[in-house]
């Protein structure tokens, strides 16, 4: 199982690529809408890119709760990447 830092780095890479934000702005506490400026289409794009990056499907129900970087880290870490 990859360590937390590795998951954070990979999630951050996807966020930078999708939301075009500076890497330095991203912390575990960052919220996608309020802190990283994403709209609903950006969120959809982000979820697709996370699915591709981690090779797994994110259900619509699970996706509802993924509103921050920490929530994504917990979700991916918790399921064992």
């Amino acid at each position: 199982m990859p360590d937390q830092q590795e998951i954070f780095d990979r999630v951050s890479k996807v966020i930078v690529e999708t939301l075009k934000v500076d890497r330095e702005k991203i912390t575990p506490a960052s919220r996608f809408t309020e802190d990283l400026g994403s709209d609903s289409l950006d969120r959809l794009t982000l979820l697709m890119q996370l699915e591709d990056e981690f090779g797994r499907k994110i259900s619509d129900e699970d996706a509802q709760g993924l509103t921050s970087v920490q929530a994504v880290l917990d979700y991916i870490g918790g399921q064992g990447a």
Partner: protein, 442 residues
């Protein structure tokens, strides 16, 4: 005096090459593409045809298509962006970033309200529709099956998700829309859906818009992507026996205007976008003029959705309209880039038509003999070939002409040609006929 309109930039994606320089070099050398079908298509159907013309790659990351783009744009939309980007680069039009997050650009030295997009496509995002419906149908079916049913799962080849961008991937105006958004063009953005004549029609309508003063510049052309995981679109053409079949060497299967032709070669896809620009606008910014876009003619057979009208009455009227629009006579035409599909009916009708109108004076070739039939992109790729032939005073040979029909003067060997005026013509399923006249720029 009416405005003159010129072609100042070209971008292409073809089975022969991605990028206009490589494509044109290989075309002039008479190189062609014809390969056996994807092996896994045989799991679904025994096709009559056994060859196609695949693209060199479906990965356009080297041409600026990001991972995000690739996940939410149909291949035809990606091809449109690749072609438009190259067309602008070859036209010498610089871009600057408009919105870094959205990846959008602004064209330097171009009034965005006076610039538009005209793109043609035959099937739009049909391949995305097929993929998403496969997911939609297969997912609940698979959920009820035991793990041992892996073979069935493999058979479905369904993507793992229903793409949330399915609608904008499927819609036929998608390619034009993504180009207009990427480059911030606020003029008319029109999609021409006229099967095999779509690309020529889009360029013709761009010519009219620029000539009328409605716009100074248009990105115009055609795009198509025809491969799906199952060969379903291929089957649509195969079932009506329109496609070429190889008897032995695949390289000999695609032979427009040859007595031994057996149908058209199905291409995976392709595209071409031309920068169609008002002459003074082009000269003022010091643009490289490739050729003059001089005339357009369009008619409709009103005969059959599947078959061209074999006497070619409306095709002949189309040529007359295009020549009159360009202010030239049949005797002025030095080169015809034929529709030249390789089907029995098309080539017989077209060869007779060209003989009737032009005699054996103009040079004739079929670009489809090199790259197969890209449907909605073909007319645009062929207009690009006509423009490049005028610029370089040379055109490509027509492949596999061993016993040519119709007594025309076919281009059979690579070499220079004296071309002052060219005609590029397209005929389509549905009955649409569209022809462009281009002139050497002077």
């Amino acid at each position: 005096m009416s405005r003159r309109v010129v072609v100042t930039g070209i971008g292409v994606v073809t089975p022969l090459a991605v990028g206009v320089a490589a494509f044109w070099r290989r075309a002039l050398a008479g190189e062609s593409v014809c390969e056996p079908l994807p092996a896994h298509w045989a799991a679904y159907h025994r096709f009559h045809s056994n060859v196609w013309a695949p693209l060199p790659s479906r990965d356009f990351s080297a041409q600026g298509i990001s991972r995000v783009d690739a996940a939410q744009l149909d291949p035809s939309e990606q091809i449109a962006l690749v072609c438009a980007k190259e067309a602008l680069e070859t036209a010498g039009i610089a871009t600057r970033v408009r919105d870094a997050k959205k990846g959008t650009l602004t064209l330097e030295g171009v009034d965005p309200a006076a610039a538009g997009v005209f793109l043609g496509t035959g099937v739009g995002g049909a391949t995305s529709l097929i993929a998403n419906v496969a997911n939609h149908v297969a997912t609940p079916l698979m959920a009820g099956l035991p793990a041992e049913a892996a073979a069935l799962k493999a058979h479905f080849r369904a993507p793992s998700r229903f793409n949330p961008f399915a609608v904008t991937m499927v819609m036929p105006n998608g390619p034009g829309a993504v180009v207009g958004i990427r480059f911030g063009l606020h003029g008319r953005n029109t999609t021409c859906a006229a099967a095999c004549a779509s690309g020529a029609m889009a360029i013709g309508h761009a010519l009219r818009a620029v000539r009328s003063g409605e716009m100074q510049l248009a990105l115009a052309g055609g795009v198509e992507y025809l491969a799906d995981e199952y060969g379903g679109l291929f089957r649509g053409f195969d079932v009506v026996r329109t496609l070429a079949r190889a008897e032995g060497d695949p390289a000999l299967a695609n032979r427009p205007f040859d007595a031994a032709r057996s149908g058209f070669l199905f291409a995976e896809g392709g595209g071409a976008v031309l920068v169609v620009e008002e002459l003074d606008h082009a000269l003022q910014r010091g643009a490289p003029v490739i050729a003059e876009l001089a005339g357009y003619g369009e008619t409709f057979d009103a005969h059959s959705v599947m078959m061209i009208e074999s006497r070619g009455v409306q095709m002949e009227r189309m040529i007359a309209l295009a020549l009159a629009d360009a202010g030239v006579a049949p005797g002025d035409v030095d080169y015809v880039n034929a529709h030249g599909t390789g089907t029995l009916l098309n080539d017989e009708t077209e060869a007779a038509l060209l003989g009737r109108v032009f005699g054996d004076r103009p040079l004739v070739n079929s670009t489809k003999s090199l790259i197969g039939h890209t449907i909605g992109a073909s007319g645009a790729i062929e207009a690009a070939v006509a423009a490049l032939s005028l610029r370089d005073q040379a055109t490509h040979p027509s492949a596999n002409l061993e016993r040519p029909i119709g007594g025309l003067r076919y281009a059979r060997e690579p070499g220079p040609a004296n071309i002052g005026c060219a005609l590029s013509e397209s005929f389509a399923f549905g009955g649409h006929n569209a022809a462009l006249v281009l002139k050497r720029f002077s």
